[in-house]
């Protein structure tokens, strides 16, 4: 092969590979992306059963119920709307009523959100970004540590 041919072989194989990579990425992006909604957005967007998504908000106080066999149900609220969630498994360490939570799963026929994973916020100050945004949008965002004593201590 001449110098030029070698170069062309190299360039075309490189382009071919990059093309394949781009194709795979685009294909994967189309099918493997999960949307994030707050409870209000879920109502607005009329999400149908079976579509995978993440929801976030606060665990509505008084709605956490432990059922048989580690099944639990609770409601996620953003102050306006709420979504009932059911989940089977162990809750994360920081899962508490009134605290921020993100759940991933899909709605079932009865409009109950079946979560297959539940994430809670990771420390006292941290609220999942999506949750904070969703709550801000609904105007119910409050600064954490509402007690001024601890607030002033920071």
């Amino acid at each position: 092969m001449t110098r030029k041919q070698k170069r062309l072989t190299l360039i075309f194989s490189a382009l071919g590979l990059l093309g394949a990579a781009v194709g795979i990425v685009l294909f994967a992006l189309r099918d493997n992306v999960v949307f994030f909604y707050g409870p209000t957005e879920m109502t607005e967007k009329q999400v149908g059963p079976g579509q995978r998504l993440r929801i976030g908000g606060l665990v509505k106080p008084g709605t956490l119920v432990h059922l048989e066999g580690k099944r639990i149900t609770f409601s996620v609220t953003d102050g306006r709307n709420e979504v009932p969630v059911s989940y089977t498994g162990l809750l994360p360490d920081l899962f508490k009523e009134g605290q921020g939570v993100v759940a991933e799963g899909a709605l079932d026929k009865a409009h109950v959100f079946r979560a297959d994973s539940v994430l809670a916020k990771h420390d006292e100050r941290y609220m999942p970004r999506e949750v904070a945004d969703a709550l801000k949008k609904q105007g119910v965002w409050q600064e954490e540590g509402g007690k001024a004593g601890s607030g002033a201590n920071k």
Binding site: K6, L10, L17, V25, V34, K70, L90, H122, R129
Partner: protein
Amino acid sequence: MIDEVGHYALVLALALAVMQMILPFWGARARDARLMALARPAALAQFAFVALSYAALTYAHVVSDFSLANVVENSHSTKPLIYKISGVWGNHEGSMMLWALILTLSGAAMAAFSRAIPPRLLADALSVQGCLGVAFLLFILLTSNPFARLSPAPMEGNDLNPILQDPGLAIHPPLLYLGYVGFSIVFSLAAGALIGGRIDAAFARFIRPWTLAAWCFLTLGIAMGSYWAYYTLGWGGFWFWDPVENASLLPWLSGTALLHCAAVMEKRDALKIWTIFLAILTFSLSLLGTFLVRSGVLTSVHSFASDPQRGLFILGILVLFIGGSLFLFMLRAPTLSQGGLFAPISREGALVVNNLLLTASCAAVFVGTLYPLALEAWNGDKISVGAPFFNLTFGPLFAPLALLMPIGQNLAWKRGDLLAALQRLWFAAACGLAAMLAFYAAQGAPVTAYVGAGVAIYLIVGAFVEIFNRIFPAGLRASKNVASRASGLPLSAWGTAIAHAGLGVTLLGLAASGWGAEKIVSMKTGEAYDVGPYQLSVVAMTAAPGPNYREAIAHMSVSRNGAVVAMIEPSKRFFTTRRMGVSQAGIVTLNFGQIYVSIAEQNDNGAVDARLYWKPLVSLIWLGALAMAFGGGLSLADRRLRVGVARRAARISGASAPAAG
């Protein structure tokens, strides 16, 4: 006074960085040897002052000096000593201090150990390093000052986030930063070479040891971080495709490409433009990772800061350095001369394919990490790109790499013989196939598990084929001079083989995860629960006080076929200051596999909810990474001694030439 001395030392380091940026650069333009030589003392002094400052901050943490806001926010007087020390970098300000410390350490190392680098290149490179120092020290002093004071000082601090109070945190960030920031040396050298305009094979020689060192640290850092997440987060997962993890994977992928590409440039004077580009890209990805983690753009476990001012500042640094270096690159790249030629099927060709695959998988991870951010900025839609995306994109791009790796190792430089290379690999391929069948017979489905395990065995065996052929050039029967040939092999050959085999070991661990078992049960004392081939039962529940927490411990026995093989003690800790509970997983390693248990609080009826996992061969994932880093270290040891070794080899060859002729 120590606080303020530390603060002042940091400011002085900034002043020195300014001088380091200006004087050597000017010297290189004016061809003034004395000014160029100033880069060295400036870099060393800058490191000394940052180290002094860092020591002062550590001291303040150790003695719980609550007149520093940083100590108040992240420490507590009852915290154990080791976490007082590691807590220094367990927060935004402190971790930036660690970053600056390692940045200046890199500059100092370059100044101290690069006698071989031409003075002009060294002057320009250290000037660029000084520029990085100025940017990051300014960032610390103006937006994230760890020496901000409180007056009057509170009597007690808020404590460090309990998740971060762990030995893993003590090691993970320094290793990771040594990797991240270690690439700054390579970046500075590349930028310096672009400024000076002289780029030849010798340049690759200068950057290889630094690339290798940074790569080893990054490998260890990523492995350590993954193991830390594995045992602290209590989910049994070791890689979450979390943006922060991806941020460390990106420079690793492009750094791995750089490592191989620099080898081609050194040996064959080819792929020069590509090497320079990867050198810039790798550190740019490190900077991007810093931006993602430190600006609060993503909020996840690792993000302790979210302040738009900081974000904008780092974004500015990012744009300045990436934009500046790419601009230089654009300016100079067309002037670079063509290097050595090679046929598509050759060692070089194989390394080009390796580079393409690595950068393509790097790009896929990049897209998956940044796409959600871009989309949200674009139209406000919030999405998450999770494991399915990465498995689908990263997997197919990385898999051919594994298959081609041993083949490439067995191709000759310049023009290779594919058939011969494949012939040499028949044994490795046979081993792989046999292993695949054996695993299928023993463990069965899923497909990914036994196919992956077979490929892994092929990789491990294949990694050593080249060495085998060099020791036994005429096959096993002609085993003359074996010892001398083995000892005559350069360390770097062993290093390469071990590092490549390490990747196979990691792959084996990953593949075996398909055979794992997982269940969530409510465990009653005395009853046995199956997980994988083992039975677990709770022997007793006890409570114990810790230094700054209370702990409830479940003592469990692990038995197989009726015989107790191990005890396991998962627990739940409650940290009083932050009023937060943390699960401590119980882990026991059995034949490279692990039993992993994490528990929730005890129920009213005395049972305890637990997640039980059996993870066969899981420890190989991290052992493989250790092997990779060890292989890198071995090559590094060789490289440092290279000059002496080469001289000895020359003497031997000179002495034996007449005899042979």
